[in-house]
C-alpha cells in the first residue's frame, strides 16, 4: 500500500460551485424546453439542441466528474479518442438522405402487406 500513500484525497470545488453548475444545467434544460415550442427549421433546432447538450455534457464532465481537476494526460487519453470515434460513427450517415429520396411514393392507397408465402 506504500504506492497509495502519496495519493492525496483531495476533491477540488466548493459546494457553492457545484450548486451554480447545477443551476446552469437546469437553466439550459429550461431553454431547451422553451425551444421545443418555438417554430424554427428542424436543422437549426437540431444544431441548437445539440450545441446546448454538448455544453451541458461538458459542464457535467468537467465539474461533477471532476475531469477539469485531473491530470492533462488523463484528459488527453480519454477525450480526443472519444470524439474521433463518435465522428467515425457518422460515416454512414449521408446514406440516410439517399434512402429518403428512394422512398416509394404511392398516391392512392397505402401498400397492402403481401400475403404470407406458403412454405413447401
Amino acid at each position: 500500500m506504500t504506492e497509495h500513500a502519496h495519493v492525496e484525497e483531495h476533491f477540488a470545488g466548493s459546494n457553492k460551485l457545484f450548486i451554480s453548475i447545477w443551476g446552469w444545467l437546469v437553466a439550459l434544460t429550461l431553454v431547451e424546453i422553451f425551444l421545443a415550442y418555438k417554430p424554427m427549421p428542424i436543422h437549426l433546432m437540431l444544431l441548437v439542441l445539440l450545441g446546448l447538450s454538448i455544453i451541458k455534457a461538458a459542464l457535467i464532465v468537467a465539474y461533477f466528474m471532476h475531469l477539469k481537476f485531473e491530470r492533462v494526460s488523463l484528459i488527453l487519453t480519454i477525450v480526443p479518442m472519444l470524439v474521433v470515434c463518435i465522428m467515425l460513427l457518422f460515416v454512414f450517415f449521408p446514406d440516410s438522405f439517399r434512402s429518403a429520396g428512394l422512398r416509394y411514393k404511392f398516391k392512392e392507397t397505402p401498400p397492402v402487406a403481401p400475403a404470407p408465402v406458403e412454405e413447401p
Binding site: V7, W22, A36, L46, I60, F64, M65, R71, L74, K107
Partner: protein, 226 residues
C-alpha cells in the same frame, strides 16, 4: 516487498515515481475507460436513431402533458441526483462518511423517482397503443404525409430501446450506489468517487436522450412529415 526494491535497478524507470502516470488509481482509470466505451454504445444508438429518422417519415407525437412535463421533471430529478452525488463525494473526501452515506441515499431516491416517473410515462404511451413495431392508429392518420407516405413504425423500436437501455443504466446505478452506501465505512474515498463517476455518466447520457428523443418529437401542430 523485495519486488519494490528491484524496481529501482530497472533501467527503464525514467519517469518520476511512475507508479501512477495519470495520478488516478487503476480502478478509477478502469471506470473512465468503461464510460468511454459506454458512451460509444449510446452514441451508436442515438446516431442510428437519427439515421432512421432522417430516412423516414417520422411522427412527432409528444404532447406537452404528459410526455414533456414528465420528461422535464425526470431531467430535473437526474440533475438533482448528480448534485447530491457530488455533495456525497465531497463529504467523503473530508472523511465525513456518515454525511456521504446520507447524500448517496438522497441520490438513490432521485434515481428511483426518475425510474418511477419514466415507467408511468412509458405506460401512457403503451396505453395509447405504441409498440416496438407499431404506431397507434391515430398517429398513423395524423402523420401520414399529403402524398400518402405513412410514418415509420420504427419510432417505438428506437424509443423503447434507447430510453430502456438508459433506464437499465439508472437501475444498475441505483443498485451500485446502494451497495456503496451500505459499505461506505469500508470503502476508500476513491471508490466512492468512482461510483459518482458512473452516476454522473448516466446523467450525462440523459442530456442527449432528452433533447433528441423528447424535445425533437414535440407535437407542435403542423405536421410536415419530417
Amino acid at each position: 516487498m523485495s519486488t519494490e526494491a528491484q524496481v529501482g535497478h530497472f533501467p527503464a524507470v525514467d519517469w518520476e515515481g511512475g507508479a501512477l502516470p495519470y495520478r488516478v488509481g487503476h480502478r478509477k482509470l478502469g471506470m473512465w475507460l468503461f464510460i468511454v466505451s459506454d458512451s460509444l454504445t449510446f452514441s451508436a444508438l442515438l446516431i442510428g436513431y437519427s439515421y432512421l429518422r432522417a430516412s423516414n417519415v417520422w411522427p412527432t407525437p409528444f404532447p406537452f402533458y404528459p410526455s414533456i412535463v414528465f420528461s422535464s421533471v425526470m431531467t430535473f430529478c437526474l440533475l438533482s441526483s448528480s448534485l447530491t452525488m457530488v455533495f456525497g463525494v465531497s463529504a467523503s473526501s473530508r472523511g465525513d462518511k456518515a454525511k456521504a452515506r446520507k447524500w448517496i441515499l438522497a441520490t438513490i431516491f432521485f434515481g428511483a423517482a426518475f425510474i418511477v416517473l419514466h415507467l408511468i410515462e412509458w405506460n401512457h404511451l403503451i396505453h395509447e397503443g405504441l409498440r416496438p413495431f407499431y404506431l397507434p392508429e391515430h398517429w398513423v392518420q395524423a402523420f401520414t404525409t399529403t402524398d400518402g407516405v405513412p410514418p415509420s413504425p420504427l419510432f417505438g423500436a428506437t424509443f423503447f430501446a434507447i430510453t430502456g437501455l438508459h433506464m437499465f443504466h439508472v437501475a444498475t446505478g441505483a443498485v451500485y450506489l446502494l451497495v456503496v452506501a451500505l459499505r461506505v465505512n469500508k470503502l476508500k474515498h476513491e471508490d466512492i468517487e468512482i461510483s459518482g463517476l458512473y452516476w454522473h455518466f448516466v446523467d450525462l447520457v440523459w442530456m442527449f436522450v432528452f433533447p433528441l428523443i423528447y424535445i425533437m418529437s414535440v407535437d407542435v401542430g403542423h405536421h410536415s412529415g419530417l
